[in-house]
């Protein structure tokens, strides 16, 4: 039963008391989770002498202990990077109006009223690379060098046609607001391997082109929603201190800070015992995490011990805080220290117009550092149990948005197919999976829905996507929801 509020409570607390029923059930819900997760929670949360809890029912032997997700916000054009369509060269400017009418695809408001839908072949050269013979465009020369490390999926598909819902589907499993992010689910399911660093870290990399069409993103994409707040991604800043206000204020020695935190913790514990709100635990955990990061972060952010070779590998711009290259290097340093999931967001991939100029610059931002990251992980023996994922939220149209010339074009949003790649733990390298039709419009072979991708990522991380759930609003909520989702076994090593 919810505790009866003592009579000294102020009226506001009487209101709080009305919440206790809900909180009681929430506590019951998380209580079970806590029992199952006991081995994964921070040590402080573990009462001394608790027998080691059995591993949770969703666990399967993992291939990957950690993952790095390189999220390219805006949607890179599959037609200009990975989905080679040589047959289109002769069909320059062919009007696809009738074809589109037959397909019955909804178009975005940006092109729906275009008179014509002229076909825009990619102006970039493609070549086959590696033993797999994967076709990769000249915009990604470094990525091409590691073709045999990659599994390129050309048959990704989504349900969304605009950025925000598409990003939410990609990173939280549904187009609606209010669902936990992929990284939060992983943090919830697997916990942290290093209690001095968050289980889920988010890095924001700068794009360098002043012309890029940039989408705003928000913490929804790395939030924990109804999962306890401690599983939310911790967003590191790209310049200055990675996390603000970690340092002790002048005149406040660390011991004083410690005793202050202990006092706060004692008070919070009383509230928690009375109310059972897991967010109180989260708050305590965040104070503690911040305290421990005072010592772990400076060591993490200090690139001084990195040899010259590191900067040759990732590119010189890795020396500059906030660049994609330095984020990639930071991602390696984080996973090396036991962080479960690092997500790098790089924006500006929304090439509605002037695609040749802008896409080239976007690729330049990330290409070498992606190569550097994968090779670095490989050299250090980390690639075998680190999963790397690279991709955007949907694809782009074969027809031109705006004016089509011999050298310039733009592409609108396209949900029916797009390309992404995976590398590392448990992934069959040197694989090209899935096919699209002549227009890179529909998938003709091996479609992979975002839910399938999620199921596969969880599978590789040692989680059965159908069994990792959290009770909320009367439902056993899952990342993959209730629609069919399957592990893409064909791409597994």
């Amino acid at each position: 039963m919810p505790p009866v509020p003592p009579d000294w409570l102020a009226p506001l607390d009487t209101l709080n008391a009305a919440f206790t029923r809900r909180q009681f059930f929430r506590r019951s819900g998380t209580g079970l989770g806590v029992a199952a997760l006991a081995s994964l929670l921070g040590e402080r949360a573990l009462a001394a002498g608790t027998p080691a809890a059995p591993p949770p029912p969703w666990s399967i032997a993992p291939k990957a202990k950690r993952a790095i997700y390189i999220s390219l916000i805006g949607a890179p054009s599959q037609l200009d990077l990975f989905d080679y369509k040589p047959g289109l060269a002769n069909r320059f400017k062919e009007d696809l109006k009738d074809y589109l009418a037959r397909e019955g695809e909804r178009l975005t408001g940006m092109t729906a009223r275009q008179e014509k839908f002229p076909l825009a072949p990619s102006i970039f050269k493609f070549a086959q690379h590696g033993q797999s013979g994967a076709w990769i465009s000249e915009l990604l020369p470094w990525t091409a060098r590691m073709a045999d490390d990659l599994c390129i999926i050309r048959s990704m598909k989504t349900d969304a046609i605009n950025h925000e819902p598409a990003n939410q589907l990609m990173y939280t499993g549904t187009m609606q607001n209010g669902k936990p992010s992929l990284g939060s689910w992983l943090a919830y399911g697997l916990g942290s391997a290093n209690q001095d660093l968050p289980a889920f870290v988010v890095l924001h990399a700068k794009h360098t082109s002043p012309f890029s069409n940039v989408q705003a993103i928000s913490a929804r994409l790395w939030g924990s929603a109804f999962l306890p707040g401690k599983h939310a991604g911790v967003s590191f800043r790209g310049s200055g201190d990675p996390v603000l206000y970690l340092n002790d204020a002048p005149g406040i020695p660390r011991e004083l800070r410690r005793s202050m935190l202990d006092g706060i913790e004692a008070l919070n514990r009383r509230s928690y015992d009375a109310l059972g709100d897991p967010e109180i635990q989260t708050r305590t955990q965040q104070y503690e995490m911040a305290f421990r990061m005072q010592t772990s972060l400076p060591e993490l952010a200090d690139l001084g011990r990195e040899p010259e070779a590191t900067f040759q590998l990732y590119g010189e711009e890795a020396r500059v805080r906030g660049t994609f290259a330095s984020s990639a290097l930071m991602a390696r340093r984080l996973v090396e220290r036991g962080v479960r999931f690092v997500q790098i967001f790089h924006r500006g991939w929304d090439q509605h117009g002037t695609l040749p100029r802008d896409l080239a610059q976007q690729c330049k931002d990330v290409d070498q550092a992606c190569y550097g990251l994968v090779q670095d992980l490989k050299q250090r023996g980390l690639l075998d149990d680190t999963l790397v994922i690279w991709g955007g939220e949907f694809g782009r149209t074969v027809y031109c948005q705006g004016t089509l010339t011999e050298t310039n074009y733009g592409r609108d949003h396209h949900p029916r197919c797009f390309s992404l790649w995976l590398a590392g733990a448990g992934i069959k390298g040197g694989t090209v999976y899935g096919e699209t039709d002549d227009f890179s419009y529909n998938i003709v072979k091996d479609p992979v829905h975002i839910r399938d991708l999620h199921a596969t990522i969880l599978h590789l991380m040692g989680i059965d996507h159908e069994r990792l759930s959290f009770k909320f609003q009367g439902l056993d909520q899952r990342l993959t929801g209730v629609l069919p989702a399957k592990v893409v076994t064909d791409i597994l090593a």
Binding site: P51, A61, A193, Q379
Partner: protein, 301 residues
């Protein structure tokens, strides 16, 4: 295949009897059908289209049954994969209602589909042998029955927790299978983990299947304790003080598969001590003094 239920027609019955008569003649030698097609059918199809269920009047638990087809007609058109209902159904996208296997069961692999395609294209023969299909890709071996990596840890749960608390390390189950062993994690406080701490892990020595000792204070002396962890499969010694001489102590780790020596002072002589470890497949030595010439298993750059 799932579909309308009805009585089998007379054509079906006649073919059935004929099929039995033919059956005894073809089973004498190993044919392509027996080697490749039958295992695929057994694995994916027979549960619904076999002696027990016969959905849509179809059985595929022998060549003869396959050729008899379903109530709706033949499922194989010899020489014409694209025109064969069997091939059409197994190559549909997973989202199609008619896709086989149905109800979200795992679909056939690319290799399995290719074998069926080649078999039909080659005339859907019961007699042709492996040599008749040089282009047929091998089928992935069925997963071996999971072998226990270590003894069941559950009876020692309290002891494990006590060690975790005393030493500031984590000993996490690798999976929900209790014989998958434990992972030793030290990333939270690598500085606390030293040779003395490793020695104290002796009570769970047989349970540790992976040990992450990167950036700990472990030295050669501590490897003496590690050598007792005879079920160890993976050992990470990145940026520790271990030396070539210390690696000689790892000889008892007969099951070790992966060893990470990144950023240590180990050289070729050190890796030489590992030559006899039978399961060791990969040694990472980036930033160490080892050359890849020392051992084919070394990855140093």
């Amino acid at each position: 295949m799932t579909g309308a239920k009805g009585r089998p027609g007379w054509r079906w019955l006649v073919a059935l009897v004929g099929g039995f008569a033919l059956g005894s003649a073809v089973r004498a030698e190993t044919t392509f059908y027996q080697a490749r097609i039958a295992p695929i059918m057994d694995r994916h199809c027979v549960v619904c289209h076999g002696p027990e269920k016969k959905k849509a009047g179809l059985r595929v638990d022998s060549f003869e049954w396959v050729m008899i087809g379903a109530e709706s007609g033949a499922i194989v058109k010899p020489g014409d994969p694209k025109g064969s209902e069997l091939y059409r159904r197994i190559t549909l996208p997973a989202t199609e209602e008619e896709v086989m296997p149905s109800d979200g069961k795992p679909l056939l692999s690319r290799e399995e589909i290719k074998n069926i395609e080649l078999w039909i294209a080659g005339g859907a023969s019961a007699e042709k042998v492996m040599a008749d299909f040089p282009g047929a890709p091998p089928l992935a071996r069925p997963k071996a029955i999971a072998e226990a990596l270590a003894p069941d840890w559950t009876s020692r749960a309290a002891q494990i927790t006590a060690l975790e608390q005393a030493l500031g390390v984590r000993l996490l189950p690798r999976s929900q299978v209790p014989t998958d062993g434990l992972i030793l994690r030290t990333a939270s406080s690598p500085a606390r983990c030293d040779d003395a701490a490793l020695a104290k892990l002796a009570p769970v020595a047989d349970l540790i299947v992976e040990a992450e000792l990167a950036r700990t204070r472990v030295t050669d002396a501590g490897l003496g304790a590690v050598a007792q962890w005879t079920n160890l499969r993976a050992l990470d010694l990145t940026r520790t003080g271990v030396t070539s001489a210390g690696l000689a102590r790892l000889q008892p780790l007969r099951r070790l598969e992966r060893l990470n020596l990144t950023d240590t002072s180990v050289d070729d002589a050190g890796v030489g001590h590992l030559r006899a470890l039978p399961e060791l497949r990969q040694i990472w030595a980036f930033g160490a003094k080892v050359t890849e010439a020392a051992d084919p298993r070394v990855v140093a750059k």
